[in-house]
Symmetry: C2
Subunit: 341 residues, 2 copies
């Protein structure tokens, strides 16, 4: 058996900065940037960065038998169509989150992936995969360090920085809205911590616009409550993070178990220790900051191995589908912010 050589990927859609972290991970793990479609706000920057990548059409990417993986970071509402076409062309897909913005898109992706080996459709939930405090927190939970998980509290505030945002960001029809876009991270973490992607239900949700009058359809605040696996999760997201914070958002993840607690301060320990990635573990033995120096961010090699072998080591296809479905459930049942209706 001959070595297949490095996996080659093509980029279709370049409308969010997540493109750069995804490709950085893939290239670092040995994949090669074969081709890209030269459209999207970040296409020029991408071409200048990955000079090996050849500009070509979507059909060229999908028709190239040397390309195994399609990376799609277009406008959220356009990602599912790319993913489905790529899967139907026999390729694996890595999508930025959110991977879908409507139930019709989700149903179509579900159909396209049905019966296929491995995980043809990956949505990369970066807050879980790229933050070493979150990675270690999940490891500790799996080792039983806090007993059984019974409460998960996630906060995902973001700085709006309106002038830096493209038009589609303010249009829920194209972005998916705040619960589909931002809360997908928190639902991913909840399902990962509670274990069974098919045992979860959104029981409350709300979204609204409280501070962005220039864009009345835009949602700048949201929350959702999800239950499953004997636990409850409450997840708060917003675009209200004050500009004086010093980073884009004071993202937190609190986990209450039957014998202990974990708290992640993902980006900043505000008015505390310097730097990002803080993890505090409390149990009967005491309270301590967990050393993260040996934590590896390894989603990219695991993803490439999954693509090569049609396996699901990074996460299951059903998990990705379940996260996406729950974000849509939350959006569809969301109350108007601050109201019971």
């Amino acid at each position: 058996m001959t070595d297949p050589g490095p996996l080659r990927f093509g980029v279709v859609g370049a409308d969010h900065l997540h493109l750069f972290s995804i490709v950085d991970g893939l290239v670092g793990a040995g994949a090669r940037p074969a081709a890209h479609v030269p459209t999207g706000a970040f296409a020029d920057a991408y071409a200048a960065w990955q000079t090996e990548s050849v500009a070509c059409s979507v059909d060229d990417v999908l028709g190239d038998p040397a390309i195994d993986l399609v990376v799609t970071v277009g406008i959220p509402a356009e990602r599912a169509a790319v993913a489905i076409a790529a899967i139907e062309a026999g390729k694996a897909v890595v999508s930025a989150k959110p991977g879908v913005t409507s139930r019709a898109q989700l149903d179509a992706v579900r159909s396209a992936t049905a019966g296929m080996a491995g995980r043809p459709w990956t949505v990369l939930f970066t807050e879980r995969f790229e933050n070493r405090a979150v990675v270690r927190a999940i490891d500790l939970v799996r080792q039983g360090a806090i007993g059984s998980v019974r409460r998960v509290s996630g906060a995902g505030p973001h700085t709006l920085d309106a002038p830096s945002r493209p038009d589609w960001f303010f249009d829920p029809a194209r972005s998916g809205g705040i619960l589909v876009d931002l809360a997908s991270h928190q639902i991913d973490e909840f399902l990962t911590l509670t274990g069974d992607p098919d045992d979860a239900e959104v029981v409350d949700a709300a979204a609204g616009n409280v501070a962005t009058p220039d864009h009345p359809a835009f949602e700048d605040v949201g929350s959702l409550s999800v239950v499953g696996g004997g636990a409850e999760g409450y997840h708060a997201v917003d675009l209200l993070s004050p500009s004086g914070l010093g980073t884009w958002g004071d993202v937190r993840l609190g986990i209450v178990g039957t014998t202990g607690t974990l708290e992640v301060r993902a980006n900043i320990d505000v008015c505390g220790e310097p730097g990002p990635e803080h993890l505090i573990h409390v149990d009967a033995d005491g309270a301590r900051r967990v050393d993260l120096s040996d934590v590896r961010v390894d989603w990219a090699p695991r993803l490439l191995a999954d693509v090569a072998a049609a396996t699901e080591s990074l996460m299951s296809q059903s998990h990705v589908l379940a996260v996406s479905a729950l974000t849509l459930d939350a959006r569809d049942r969301a109350r108007d912010w601050g109201s019971g209706r």
Copy 2:
């Protein structure tokens, strides 16, 4: 007009340690401990502490015209009857929280207070009134330091320490259950921050027993979501706080406004700065710890002034009734923990 002299109070019910902080405040503000009923788990300790107080019957306390105020810290389910009898005897009442454990009790208290001047029935929500970080956070909100309040996130974990708890603590019929007992603090804070006690609604709640199998009826975890005044509040309470924390619970209060955020770490800054009472303020100008050295805990003199003048400076009677009603609403609609039903 002659000086009426110091206000005298009688104690009816001594079943929770809150008795000592309430009486400490009252005595420190100049009130005199006139009498107490010698029943309840802490009655002997109280008598040994306040040697000026005379042991007598309930009827003696209620019939003594020199006693203006009745302090009731009995078993929660028994407090309302004491309060109503005292109000009907023409006295003001200070109750430990919760002040009521059933809707019938609340209706009876509401009837007893209807049409009366001032605030005859005070339930002392100690987390707001005794913690200098909370006091200052509320001051800053009222000064506009974070714009309009749009999200309030409260966490009230407590150490169970089961051997130290009396039988009634494990019986929701006598304690009121976790949402009535513990979450009354958080609802009090939410209504204080959002302003209008009559514009609030519980939209989701859950309670359950996840780690206390010896007491199957006991609720050791709960949460509720409340909306009002254009804001949402999510409040998490539990008896799961790990014994290694170093204090009884890592109580937090997060407030997101349209232009900034406040975070209270009420009892401990876990793995951070020493001591209790921490307040972090973030806005466009930066992130800083707020100096609390000049914050006065002044609920007791304000309460005594309210009793003397039949005023409502500390809080309104309608606020106390609204907090109590919302805790009952939460309990009555609570889902089983981790379930959609």
